[in-house]
Amino acid sequence: MRYAMAIDTRKCVGCSDCVVACQTENNVPIGFCRDWVTETVDGTYPNVSIELRSERCNHCDNSPCVRCCPTGASHIEDGGIVLVTPHKCIGCGACIQACPYEARYSHPDGYVDKCTFCIHRVRKGEDPACVAVCPTKCMYFGDLEDPNSEIVNVLKNRKFKALAPEAGTKPQIFYLT
């Protein structure tokens, strides 16, 4: 099993529903977020192109955050989901430095927090909150090793990219372009 996400940058309208859904679902403290939307504008008016991306932890296959964790609090769960165990985390901040996507932050309670792919929902067979709530249905969540899953299908038929692949992290969030 290898969970991953594909996000259609052509369908995304940047409404930030995914951000709000995540904050509500996971009780993210005010002033922080586990996912966010970036807007990249290329060119000058009237010849501009815009790319909207809903970004979050990439649940990398070669995760630098897990490697550098001194206590093993950052670990990889079944399905490749990168998680932090709060009672094992000492809050040293090494994983925050190690992440090229700046996907981690220091929770006001002291431990490091990040996107969990809503593992509590995924285990029940539901989609992560951000995916479930997206009004344009631009996100696909699923198992890359299941040949019949929607995500495998969409990645077969569309061009896609990952963020900073040169960082060598093997990110698992794919952006359909």
Partner: protein, 313 residues
């Protein structure tokens, strides 16, 4: 024109504009670690060479600073932790892949060695010192007899500790300014230089000061070479590394880096130490203090600047 805008919850004060998670504690921790490594390395080497008599400050007096430096350093690391009550888990896990993890272990080994080393010399400072318990006296005798054999692992561990202070930063691929293998040797030699400066400050023997001053000159030269090497390496690297180097070459850290680290922390002390070697009278305290301050500021700048550099996508 390429412009990136954050349109959602990401433009919030607690996370953006960049994740600056390490503050003043980490540079002090790295500085004290390097200082301790420098002193213990020189103490070990001169003990191995059998020069305890000629190099009193190096072998005996300066190591008294080390236990304090290491304990304050570990306390700085503790202050940096955000989940403080769980800190003990650093020492219930061994994860060799994590520099933070094995660094904490190296310090855990170094601190007792440095305490034992200093304790074995305490009766030379306070002749009336009494250990109260017999086993402590027997242990002291054993340590004094086996100093040569303690000096070897001490010098080797000191090198590991000095390199570790650089590797703690260089292991992070996500921060291009840190992600260079030269950072380990650079921090090691900078630590050696601050250690030597500390010995110079404590020594009353002219010959010893002169010898350590010469060594310091060597360390400073190597450090300058490594810094040039590092920046050249960045400039020959990828876009993110070029941007990292540009922080020092016209970017926001240019002035503090060239004024405090290069000019006042390296070139001026090197010049003063050279003048002294030629025969001019220079109060050796000045270059020593400049080296110490330069080393401290260098670590502040590296930690601060590194956290600004990031991958572009």
């Amino acid at each position: 024109m390429k412009e990136e805008l954050f349109v959602s919850g990401r433009n919030i004060p607690n996370i953006d504009p960049y994740l600056n998670i390490w503050h003043w504690q980490i540079p002090i921790y790295l500085f004290l670690g390097g200082l301790a490594a420098g002193i213990l390395f020189l103490a070990g080497v001169y003990t191995i060479l059998g020069k305890e008599k000629q190099m009193q400050a190096t072998v005996k007096w300066a190591p008294f600073i080390v236990p304090f430096a290491l304990i304050i350093g570990l306390f700085m690391l503790f202050l940096d932790l955000k989940h403080k009550l769980y800190f003990w888990q650093l020492y219930t896990t061994i994860r060799l892949e994590s520099p933070m993890g094995w660094g904490a272990w190296v310090l855990m080994i170094m601190t007792p060695i440095s305490i034992i080393w200093s304790a074995s010399y305490i009766r030379e400072v306070f002749p009336n010192w009494d250990w109260k318990f017999k086993f402590l006296k027997t242990f002291e005798l054993w340590v004094i007899k086996n100093r040569y054999y303690i000096a070897w692992p001490m010098a080797i561990y000191a090198v590991i500790l000095g390199i570790y202070t650089g590797i703690l930063l260089s292991a992070f691929n996500a921060r291009p300014l840190w992600n260079t293998t030269i950072l380990g040797p650079l921090f090691l030699v900078s630590g050696m230089s601050t250690g030597a400066a500390c010995i110079i400050l404590m020594s009353k023997n002219h010959e010893e000061r002169k010898l350590i001053g010469r060594l310091d000159l060597l360390f400073i030269s190597v450090e300058l070479f490594f810094i040039v090497h590092m920046i050249m390496g960045f400039l020959a690297g990828s876009e993110v590394q070029i941007q990292a180097a540009n922080l020092f070459l016209g970017g926001q850290f240019t002035a503090p880096f060239f004024v405090f680290v290069i000019a006042l922390g390296l070139l001026l002390p090197a010049l003063l130490e050279t003048l002294e070697l030629i025969g001019y009278k220079v109060p050796i305290v000045i270059p020593a203090i400049l080296v110490l301050l330069g080393g401290l500021i260098f670590r502040f700048i590296m930690v601060e600047a590194g956290q600004i550099t990031r991958y572009l996508y």
